[in-house]
Each structure stands twice: as structure tokens, then as C-alpha cells.
Subunit: 225 residues, 2 copies
């Protein structure tokens, strides 16, 4: 992999100079992982950053009785490990690969080294953390204030589809219904029942992982509660 | 108020020079608010920072049918507004004062001005955002993976009390049970029922806002699920 070229496309490297990209690339170690591999567990001590180069990982919390709540799905260019590296070094959740994945592993100190010359990388990091915090607030809102059918409608409208819903638009799920249920904080059975009900009411049409919207207005009404 | 002296005690100003503190203080505007005043609403456009100088505010999400979920309670020295200022300028939640409160209002640009000379303030901001993100992950875990009695026990152990629970230790709630229920994502009635049940089982003793722990082991068992 040409690490410099790849890094140039990531949010962390926005507006960095070629010199800075070189420093970042030189400190990076490539790691190939098979699907379903645990990358790091909750409460592990680490000051390392990870950037997904290829593939996809899932960050999640789990309970003692085996239930899971997905926090984030992260794909190429997205990073994790910032929280631990910049607070108490304790990783706050579990990260597992969802498919064959290549990670770039960077020592926490490289950000400090880069920032000595120019603080651009710190603004990039603040931008990434701010976005992540907003996403987590939306998830809290969804879990706490929305009933499950509302969460499903909201997901289809704002994550699966573009913001302006059009009749006939198709949301192709890139994950299984089982994984989607862990994002929505529900069971696969409940999710399946809700999708069937929406299909029965001619609001959506489900074919495998493809979900076609038949009635935008009804979906939007459900999503706004 | 001596703004420089106050700012020196806040996490944002950690390790800043006297010059930098002066710049920060000069850009700050003091605002006194009565209890129950809405400071900023969800989706408002802003690039301003707020620091609580005295009093306390609550950041929360609300639903169309009037339900509320508390995201954070913020007291003296704590700040809000970073998410909006450093991403899309859209404030992600509502903020209301819980008592008489004095705020310091800072223009978003002051951070950029400070960072031109020295990036310390950016590291402070990253530290604050990282901590906030970890808190929100814990809240997601609590709302999604814990039953309400477990959330109550967990709150008493880790928020109300010190981490090492001792028999006879007293957690004095600084908020009403009604407010606590909005943090725990439940109703005041359910919270009251759970506290009564724990008292009936001689695990805690409730006198007004004081909660005395009678049986640490039982409380810890409940909290870990």
C-alpha cells in the first residue's frame, strides 16, 4: 500500500503538508486482520491510534450476559483510539473487524510530534472528535426517546438514504439485519417484525438487503414521532 | 468577577501562559441567567463557547411529545459549544440553567487566535472532548444494555459515591429525583419504586436527598449485572 497517498485522503490529514504526511506515514505500521478479529477490548490500556485503510470495523459495548450495542461502524479513512490516547489511556469499548481489514497503527506520540511545527493536525482531530460526539448524542436520543419503529424509520431516512427522501429510492443495507439491530438497540426479531409491518403497510418494499421506499411521507411521519 | 483568576482554574486553561489567559479573559463576556432559562436550543447556529462560571446547566435532548434525556450536567469550569464551533456550527442539543448561573461567553475564533502562538489550548480541548465522548459511550451502554435497577445501582456507585464503596457511606444527591430520572432514562415513578425496593431489601436507606449505603456488596452485584 502507498501509505502517503492513502493518508492524503483521510480527515486526519486534511491540509497537512507533504512533510507532515511523510512523518505520519513513516510512523505507521500496517496490520492485516481477518474478519471477526478483536482488535482491542474495553478497558485495555493503549496510547495508539488506528486508521482503517481497507475493510470495516465495529466499535461496541457489551454486557455480561452477551448483549451488544454498536457505537460506530468505521470504514476506510476513519480512525479510532483518540479518546484513550488523549485522556486516561483506557480504551472505552471493544473493536472487532466486520470483514477482512487492513489497519494503520500509529503511536500516540506522532500527533504531538506533528503539532510541534504546525497545529493543523490538532484542528483535524478536534473536528473528528466533535463529529463523533454529535453522533453519540444522536444515538442517545434514538435509544432513549424513540420507540423502535421510529428508530428504524429514522435510520432508513438519515443513514440509509439521502436526506431528501424520494419515492422509489432504494437503501441498500451494507450490513446484515442482525448487525443493524445492534445499532438500533433492538433484537433481530423485533427489527424483522417492524420491516414486515412497514412492508405490509406499503411504506417500504424489502428484497434481501435492498429496501425500496414506497411512501416517503409516511416514513418521515414515523421518523419524526 | 475576576475572570483571569477564574479561568486559571478551568480545564481549558491548563498550562496556559498569563498572556494567553489575558487574551481569553479579554474576549469573554459575562452573562447572568436565572434558573430555568434556555441558553441555547437544539439546531441553533452558533460558533460560540460557553463556560459555566457559577451555577449549573443541563444539556439535554427532547422529543416531540415532551420526553427529555439528559446528556450532561455541567458545573463551574465546565464548557459547552465545542461540537458546534468545530464542526458544522449547528448546536446538537438544548441547554437550560438548573439554578441561578453565570456564564462566560467566548467567540469561537479566540481558540484559533490562542493556538497561533502555542497549541496547548488545543490539547486541552482534545482532552475535554475525549472525556465527554467517553461519558456519552457510558450513557449509551447504560441506556441500551442495563435494566433500570442496574442503572440506578451503577449511578449510586460511580457517580454519587467514590469508586470504593464503603458501608455507611452517604451519597447526597445534588439534584431532585425527577432530574435523576432524566439522567437514567426512566420515569420518576420507576426511579422512586426502585429506590424503595432497594431500601426494603436493606441495601440503601433514603432520607430526603441523602442516600446511605447499607450493603455495598449487594449494590455492586446489582451494578455489574
Amino acid at each position: 500500500m502507498d501509505i502517503v497517498s492513502f493518508l492524503r485522503t483521510t480527515p486526519l490529514s486534511r491540509n497537512l503538508s507533504e512533510d507532515q504526511l511523510e512523518i505520519l506515514a513513516q510512523s505507521a505500521r500496517e496490520k492485516r486482520c481477518r474478519a471477526g478479529q478483536l482488535i482491542i477490548g474495553e478497558k485495555k490500556e493503549t496510547r495508539t491510534f488506528f486508521i482503517v485503510a481497507e475493510g470495516r470495523v465495529k466499535m461496541f459495548k457489551s454486557s455480561s450476559d452477551g448483549k451488544e450495542q454498536t457505537l460506530y461502524l468505521l470504514g476506510p479513512g476513519e480512525m479510532f483510539g483518540m479518546c484513550a490516547a488523549f485522556s486516561d489511556s483506557i480504551f472505552p469499548a471493544n473493536v472487532i473487524t466486520m470483514e477482512e481489514t487492513t489497519l494503520l497503527i500509529l503511536p500516540g506520540t506522532v500527533i504531538e510530534d506533528l503539532a510541534k511545527k504546525d497545529s493543523t493536525v490538532l484542528f483535524n482531530l478536534i473536528f473528528i472528535l466533535s463529529g463523533r460526539l454529535k453522533e453519540s448524542m444522536s444515538l442517545i436520543e434514538s435509544l432513549s426517546l424513540m420507540e423502535t419503529p421510529q428508530r428504524v424509520a429514522s435510520f432508513l431516512l438519515f443513514s440509509g438514504l439521502k436526506k431528501d427522501c424520494r419515492e422509489g429510492e432504494v437503501a441498500e443495507l451494507t450490513i446484515s439485519q442482525r448487525e443493524l439491530s445492534k445499532i438500533l438497540g433492538t433484537t433481530p426479531e423485533t427489527l424483522s417484525r417492524i420491516l414486515k409491518k412497514l412492508a405490509g403497510e406499503n411504506i417500504i418494499e424489502v428484497t434481501g438487503r435492498k429496501i425500496r421506499v414506497l411512501d416517503c411521507e409516511a416514513l418521515q411521519e414515523l421518523a419524526t414521532g
